[in-house]
């Protein structure tokens, strides 16, 4: 493996730093060759062994393989999955769940126009599925760059079907936030927080958003907006 070639090269250079000066002293030590031979032999044995041993103990020799594997897997997964899904949906187009999954995949690739199109298909096939409608609204909003108009109508429609729809709550809160309706944004987001599993990235992000909205609301109500965020706003200590 490449890494071990690197180890060999590094140890070789290190040995050169020690043995070349030793070699240069040869003439000064004429007749006492053993004074050169034994240190040299010792170093040639100990330095490589100790380097490998310490690295196996301290390092992560398996990491390269693992990282390579993850990368290959993720490449394979993503491309393969999308292509397989496209093929499957061509064969059996009446599959709202399938269109929904494909739409989300397109969004992940920033292919918003494609996402909007397939999600529209999904909503026509499942007109009462709040989750699909909310996702359609997001795709549309991403494409046009704003939640205003049709996306917002769709979000409201999704919430009418189910007030527990996470994506719809998030987007509704965002729309309100963008219009500076802090209290309304808080209403949606606080509701959303109750639904989300704790200690996840999503939960964390929404918590931050709620804090921001609370601060804005506090300022509007005449406060200073200061009690939040919790950490001191002006760290006085110099970190080193």
């Amino acid at each position: 493996m490449n890494l071990w070639i690197g180890v060999g090269a590094l140890v070789g250079v290190a040995l050169a730093f020690l043995l070349v000066p030793l070699w240069r002293q040869k003439s000064a030590l004429a007749g006492r060759q053993s004074e050169i031979r034994w240190p040299a032999v010792g170093l040639l044995g100990v330095l490589p062994a100790l380097t490998v041993g310490l690295y196996l103990y301290l390092g992560a020799p398996g990491i390269l393989k693992e990282l390579a594997l993850t990368q290959a897997q993720s490449n394979y997964d993503v491309d393969g999955m999308v292509r397989a899904l496209e093929d499957k949906l061509k064969a059996t187009p009446n599959d709202p769940e399938g269109w929904y999954a494909l739409g989300r995949a397109y969004i992940a690739f920033s292919r918003y126009a494609d996402a909007e199109e397939v999600l529209r298909k999904a909503t026509t096939q499942a007109p009462k599925d709040a989750r699909i409608i909310a996702q359609y609204a997001e795709a549309m909003a991403l494409k046009q760059g704003s939640l205003d108009g049709r996306p917002l109508e769709l979000i409201k429609a999704a919430l009418e079907i189910s007030y527990e729809e996470e994506k719809a709550l998030e987007l509704a809160g965002l729309a309100a936030f963008q219009k500076e309706n802090w209290a309304e944004a808080l209403h949606y987001w606080r509701r959303l927080l109750k639904l989300l599993p704790k200690a996840t990235e999503h939960h964390e992000a929404i918590t931050q958003a709620v804090k921001t909205a609370e601060r804005k609301l506090d300022i509007r109500l005449g406060g200073t907006g200061m009690p939040l965020p919790p950490q001191p706003a002006e760290p006085k200590k110099a970190p080193h």
């Binding site: 890494l3 020690l18 301290l58 990491i63 804090k211 110099a238 080193h240």
Partner: protein, 636 residues
Amino acid sequence: MIPELGHIALIVALQLALLQGILGLVGASRDNAAWRAMARGAAGGQLLFVLLGFLALGWSFLINDFSVMNVADHSSRFLPVEYRITAAWGSHEGSFLLWTLLMAGWTLAVVILGRKLPADLHARVIGIMGLLSFFFLAYLLFTSNPFMRLHPPPANGSDLNPLLQDPGMIIHPPLLYMGYVGFSVAFAFAIAALISGKLDEAWARWVRPWALMAWVFLTLGIMIGSWWAYYELGWGGWWFWDPSENASLMPWLAGTALLHSLVVTERRGALRVWTVFLALLAFALSLVGTFLVRSGVLSSVHAFALDPLRGLFILVFLCILIGGSLALFAKRASAVKVAGDFGMISRETALLTGNVLLLAALATVLLGTLYPLFLDAFGLGKISVGPPYFNAVFVPMMVPVLLLLGIAPWMRWGEERLPDLLPRVRGLAIAAVLIGLALPFAFDAWRWQAALGLALAAWMMLTTITGLIARRRTDGRLPLAAYGMACAHVGLAIGIIGMGLVTAYQSEKAVAMNPGDSTSLGRYEFIFRGAEEVPASNYSAMRGTIELKQEGQAVATLLPEKRIYRSSQMTMTEAAIRYGFFGDVYVAMGEPLPGGTWSVQLYLKPFVGWLWGGAVLMALGGLLAALGLRNKGVGA
């Protein structure tokens, strides 16, 4: 791949450092030229391998390799490239890697520049530095490994502490560390002298340039740190007596004492034991300071317990190092001791008195810094020791030091007679007092801090400059070191002027301002033109626009910012400063108030720049002295 190779490079460096230590010390005591040569080779190799490790870490930061935990914890995709590189030493692990890199650099400098030293002394110094490096590398690899990996890697890192996203913080740690680590050279020379029992004038001559260079770097490092705190923390303070600042002040004070004691040892052969003690102390305090700042005990003594291995490692290392060197000192000091012969009133006595006062001042800082930590650690309650204590205890202790600074260069070595000395300085003393009393009247009000600062500074400048002229007249051409000393002393005087005047005459005002409002402070008028949002890659700023007018004339537009950093949600104040020779105008955004109103903080800081200007002159003086000593052809 690159991080793994960096990791392996550090493992190789660890072994080279140990070999350097053993081969150097044994090669010296057995008089084995081959081993000594290998120790020198190991030192060169160690620098190369630590450098490879450092570059590997820097590379991981540059390419956002979040599978390296250190990168994931201290960088992010949104961090600008320049801070991504400097984030490499923004973390605990990275900064210790920087420390070991600088240590290896100083070692190689000793290897190369010390070629003309006696072979055994040279090898011993290299050997001791090798053992020190070994400890640091072991600490790094076993407790603070910068190359820990994460699997699977996160998609983004958690960003660099916003306080560190600043040019001042890029150069402050390397300079400070150059100073700390530089004292390891003097330390190694001291240990080598204790081992061999050979400590004479030549030894002092060899150590002086090294100690001077370390002191120069430390001075600059502290200066940059103080300046950074001034503009970054948002209220224009320049020294806080914060434990992390005290941690750098203590080795500086010990180092300053060491420089002056070395002069006595070199010129007169006296104070040998004292000089060795100071060399040990300066480096020991560098380590204590690093331990305080890096182990986390400052933020909370209980942070120490969260990661006991790290703290314990440094603590054990400190005990071995300080205990070992003091034990060696106790056992061997008599071997190097030679009764110095000087009278009660002499330049030696003046320098020694100044030295003792510096150490007493150091002790007060040490007490004020460590005592609260001890109390807290043993659960005896929390106390806060702040500026009132230090100002009341430290400052009065320094006044006699500054008075001695003026008079010592006038005194004769060996024996001085007061009747000879007094007439020479009496006129200068009277002039200094008069200047101190009179000059404050030029300001708005007469204040004692200004008078004290100006009188001391006048005394120091007058004595230094007239002293230099007098020496030129009697001695002819003066060595560069003499100019270096004068430069450093005048620099200190300039710094004292800055301290005295800014303490006496600074003024401030906090006002709520609507766009269009104006307010005045001193001779300035401030007009608030509103605040607007300015986005950047990793933060979003509200930037205020404030027009500055003086006597109706627009003189500047100041743009202070309030930033919110995305990843950490930390708020930072970015002050706008109009720097001036006679003082700064300092504006910081406070908090947004309802309806587009902002609270704005305005400060006038007269003569504050002289502080840092003075420090630069001091460092320049040290540099001149170091160059002068090297050019004398002393070989080290």
